[in-house]
């Protein structure tokens, strides 16, 4: 679990005079799901496409499963699977033909089992143009995984999908991780990164401004945990003052809402208050700051809080 499968060292990428990626470094370990997060133009796609061998770096060193993507692209093709954000298949190609086509080019047996596993069995004779966006994405993911590559790149895999298709894609991605595949995921969807990723890097203006597990990233923020309390007689709303470590914020739908940097003692103090008041608790919700809130905090401060942490 500790060996490094993807290594990026002082990677730079320029487009004319514009420096899109400014010497970033990170490593991805075997079996990890690693998320690259950042607003548009942050350098996510440039990084991903350079790792996939689609672009040449202007500086630094890249290694994917021991291969330099820009020097040995042919060797790379069987080591990686890629679900591109902007890619497609020939419109008239059926699901089964696509699987046969790509398996043949990778020199592996045709993976009809993946058509079943990715829920495409009923559509095996359907042409690509007639599949829904969700099914097209699922097929692209199945094709990317067909030759069992050790590293899988997913670029915005759930963009534009409905809730159900999104959940299915998450389940499939988690299943691939279970089978030992290393996944590098570029996404705008913070909830997706929080749910799937073991670690994430936040890119801003071509530099990494935060790196770590989603939990560690959110813990580093200045945001406090939100505690919402509903009681039978609303004694907390009558009082409207801080309770121990809990700072009273507002009232909404009969809930008293507090924030705290130390949620454990704060909740204990609120429960003690209700017991003293003889006011039975109806509902208690504790919400830690989300990765999205942390992301917005970092990007709104323009990344001025120390990089490559």
């Amino acid at each position: 679990m500790n060996d490094v499968l993807v290594s990026v060292r002082r990677f730079r990428k320029r487009y004319g005079r514009f420096e899109a990626v400014k010497g970033i470094s990170f490593e991805v370990r075997r079996g990890e799901i690693f998320a690259l997060l950042g607003p548009n133009g942050a350098g996510k796609t440039s990084t991903l496409e350079s790792l996939e061998g689609l672009r040449k770096p202007d500086g630094g060193e890249l290694s994917v499963a021991g291969v330099d993507p820009s020097r040995r692209p042919r060797r790379l093709k069987n080591l990686i699977g890629v679900q591109l954000q902007a890619s497609a298949l020939p419109q008239a190609m059926t699901v089964e033909e696509a699987m046969t086509f790509f398996c043949t080019y990778h020199g592996v047996a045709v993976r009809r089992d993946l058509i079943e596993r990715f829920g495409l069995a009923e559509k095996r004779r359907t042409q690509y143009s007639k599949l829904s966006t969700g099914l097209q994405r699922r097929l692209n993911l199945a094709l990317a995984a067909a030759h069992e590559p050790p590293v899988l790149f997913l670029d915005e895999p759930t963009a534009g999908l409905d809730v159900q298709s999104r959940a299915e894609m998450h389940a499939v991605t988690a299943e691939l991780k279970k089978s030992g595949t290393t996944v590098i995921l570029a996404t705008h969807d913070m909830a997706e990164a929080e749910k799937l990723a073991d670690r994430a890097a936040i890119l801003l203006n071509g530099a990494i401004v935060a790196l770590g597990s989603p939990r560690a990233l959110t813990a580093r923020g200045s945001r406090r945990t939100k505690i919402s309390v509903l009681s039978e007689r609303a004694s907390l709303l009558a009082d409207r003052s801080d309770v121990g470590e809990a700072r009273f914020q507002s009232a909404a739908d009969d809930y008293a809402i507090y924030t705290s940097a130390t949620p454990g003692p704060a909740v204990t103090a609120i429960l003690a208050f209700l017991e003293r008041a003889g006011d039975p608790l109806v509902d208690l919700r504790v919400e830690r700051p989300s990765l999205e809130e942390r992301f917005l905090e970092i990007t709104s401060s323009n990344g001025n809080e120390g990089g490559n942490s």
Binding site: Y15, E52, A86, A88, Q91, Y105
Partner: protein, 270 residues
């Protein structure tokens, strides 16, 4: 090799399944053949002499100019080539397979035109079938090369349509398909040698309908052969895996070099 053959078989199937390809490979040229042959044989008895090669050439041009460039541009714009690249499909396969599979469809269309032209419209059957087939193949390769160059050089689908029409329409009007080259005024006849169809019609006559005492048209043979070779190399050089608005293909202007063999034929004078 297995992947190449599989890819080729898939591409051949789409010639029937894909509506645009079906239209340009069969429906449009065959409908045009039946319609034009019906009335042209009534108003111009000499049309029967050139009907079969002219209609075969028309089918070739429809496939190579109206289908091939658009297919390439659309695949590049929609990201099909990116998918192919990542999965190890070589550029050589992307360029050669549509040409080979369309050649097979053209052979079928040519056989239909040959039989129907002879049996239904009493057109002149080729005296030398192998020679006729050689002329058809060379004309096909020349136009397929043009199609590849247009498909790789055009920045978008609209540009590919415009460029293809710039070759297609003059090829029909001046290339000896509707009006024999021999009846054109000298200046027009010479200018028409810039078009592969003119050389195609000259070769069809020389190889498919050989007549004693006529000099062999080496210039047309060289123009079509040279044109095909130059076009194939140019398309491989211009080829890009994807379209980037911020970085237009600077090699696209080199596409004009595909005209050089035909320009030389004009200079030599056929």
């Amino acid at each position: 090799m297995k992947a190449f053959i599989h890819h080729l078989a898939y591409d051949f199937k789409t010639g029937i399944r894909d509506r645009t390809k079906l239209l340009m490979f069969y429906l449009f040229p065959l409908a045009f053949f039946f319609a034009v042959s019906s009335f042209m044989t009534q108003i111009n008895p000499f049309f029967k002499d050139t009907m079969i090669p002219a209609m075969v050439l028309f089918a070739v041009m429809s496939a190579c100019l109206l289908s091939l460039p658009g297919t390439l541009v659309t695949a590049r714009e929609s990201g099909v080539f990116r998918s192919f690249r990542i999965n190890g499909v070589p550029a050589a396969s992307i360029l050669s397979i549509p040409v080979i599979s369309a050649a097979a469809h053209m052979a079928v269309a040519a056989v239909i035109i040959g039989f129907a032209g002879t049996l239904v419209f009493k057109g002149a059957a080729p005296a030398n079938v192998l020679g006729f087939a050689a002329a058809a193949l060379l004309s096909y390769l020349a136009y397929a090369g043009f199609g590849l160059v247009l498909g790789t050089a055009a920045g978008n689908a609209n540009a590919s349509i415009l460029l293809a029409q710039a070759v297609y329409i003059p090829s029909i009007l001046l290339g000896g398909l509707m009006v024999p080259l021999s009846v054109l005024p000298d200046a027009f006849r010479r200018a028409a040698l810039i078009l592969p169809s003119s050389h195609g019609m000259i070769l069809f006559q020389a190889l498919g309908y050989p007549a004693a005492g006529k000099a062999f048209p080496w210039v047309s043979l060289a123009a079509l052969g040279g044109g095909a070779v130059v076009s194939f190399f140019l398309s491989a050089w211009i080829f890009q895996w994807d379209t980037r608005a911020s970085r237009p293909n600077r090699k696209a202007f080199a596409a004009l070099l595909a005209l050089v063999p035909y320009a030389l034929a004009v200079a030599v004078g056929g």
